[in-house]
Amino acid sequence: MPDTQWPEYVVFQQDKPERVHHYAGGVHAPDAEVALLNARDVFVRRPECISLWVVRRDLIFGATSEEISLDPNWFTQFEVPEGRIEKYAVFQKHGPRGVHEYTGTVEGRSSRDALRAALTVYANQDVTVWWVTPEEAIRRSTSDDIAALFAIAETKFYRDEGQYRTQEALRKIKAMRDKEQSSHGE
């Protein structure tokens, strides 16, 4: 079924200054500014977060290490456009359970060209899936956003779902109902 919603943006989240941005999930939004706000609402209400990046999913070019290694022509057989050289952000996913993490930047004339550059620069790393996206395509939260988007989550009082004891209440209700039914049956 085609996706009739707004474009999807991939969300990368940074938890602490010494950590890199990592994949958090996706949100739909009509534009990058709304995507940033939606990303905050969906992913940042509880955990700590100091920075968010959002980028349209269709502007991310990806390839698995497996498909690259199985195709002997992967490195050579593709057209590099004449266009200008751009900076691309590189993300790596390590292992099947990992999530994409920001690795660094490379330059290229296309996404494919940039990924080839990334494979050369980060050649000796054990990567399962690669992503590259033009740096320009990333909408980053700024230091001005900290107060509005992130700071409030730190002091906010909240309950985890377990604290509502709904499971316990439901068990009690069910037990009561079972008892009633069995007494009716007698």
């Binding site: 009509p30 706000l37 939606n38 905050r40 609402d41 969906v42 107060a147 700071a151 002091t155």
Partner: protein, 254 residues
């Protein structure tokens, strides 16, 4: 504290709590019904924030009256009759379409931001502290709603026309936010409450350009006859819904 000052303060705190509680309830009606999942989450967040803010003001109101700050807010919300509520009737109007709810939230967010910024300097330390705490959350509300007002205003023909219809319906009600309660003058005199005329001036200076730049025409509206003590028929319907369970099971606990 002198009695008339105490009564005036209690009335104002109740009005501030009622504003947040009634708007929060109207917002919560969107839960599960917003146009897209992300907005559903966002608006539910805002609804919860407003209800949380209501609890803050209600707790101060309760303390002033010597009531229990934890349980008294429930009494106020669930066991009062319509005539005892003191919010601006603007906030009790049915949620309408998405444009209506978003625009109302924006009108209120901006009012609240201006009010809270001034209350942060209140001579009453509890109010000043609460205003600073609540104000931190309002930064995000305002950003969310102003972003949407701009996009819906400048969006398609339909989104613009829905926003304009919403503005035409809401604008006559905005003055309700700035009409003082009978005891407000006492509070303003001692520096507990800002002058609501000043709040309105700052509010208008911010809201008019934002609406105009969003391709919305500000109507030359005659202010509504409703006040914090004279509500529309919609409040009774709202309370039928909000208080339904408590009326059915007056002694129930959960």
């Amino acid at each position: 504290m002198e009695n008339d000052l105490k009564d005036a303060l209690a009335a104002r705190l109740l009005a501030m709590g009622d504003d947040e509680a009634i708007l929060g309830h109207r917002d919560s009606e969107w839960c599960g019904h917003a146009p897209i999942l992300e907005e559903d989450i966002a608006f539910a967040n805002i609804a919860l924030d407003e209800i949380g803010h209501a609890q803050v003001w209600y707790a101060l109101h309760a303390e002033l009256l010597g009531e229990d700050a934890a349980s008294y807010p429930d009494e106020l919300v669930y066991r009062r009759s319509a005539g005892a509520f003191r919010h601006a009737p603007l906030l009790e109007l049915p949620k309408g379409d998405w444009a209506f709810s978003m625009l109302r939230q924006y009108l209120f967010d901006l009012y609240e931001s201006v009010m809270l910024a001034k209350l942060a300097d209140s001579q009453n330390e509890s109010i000043a502290g609460a205003a600073i705490r609540i104000g931190r959350e309002e930064i995000y509300h305002r950003r969310h709603t102003q972003t949407w007002v701009r996009r819906l205003g400048l969006g398609t023909e339909e989104s613009n026309s829905r926003m304009q219809t919403a503005l035409d319906a809401l604008w006559p009600h905005v003055m309700e936010l700035f009409r003082p309660l009978s005891g407000d003058a006492t509070l303003i005199e001692v520096g507990i409450l800002p002058n609501l005329g000043d709040v309105q001036t700052v509010w208008e200076a911010a809201i008019r350009p934002w609406l105009t730049e969003s391709n919305l025409a500000i109507p030359e509206a005659i202010p509504s006859n409703y006040t914090r003590t004279h509500h529309t028929k919609h409040l009774a319907t709202l309370l039928d819904d909000l208080q339904e369970v408590v009326r059915l099971y007056p002694e129930g606990s959960w």
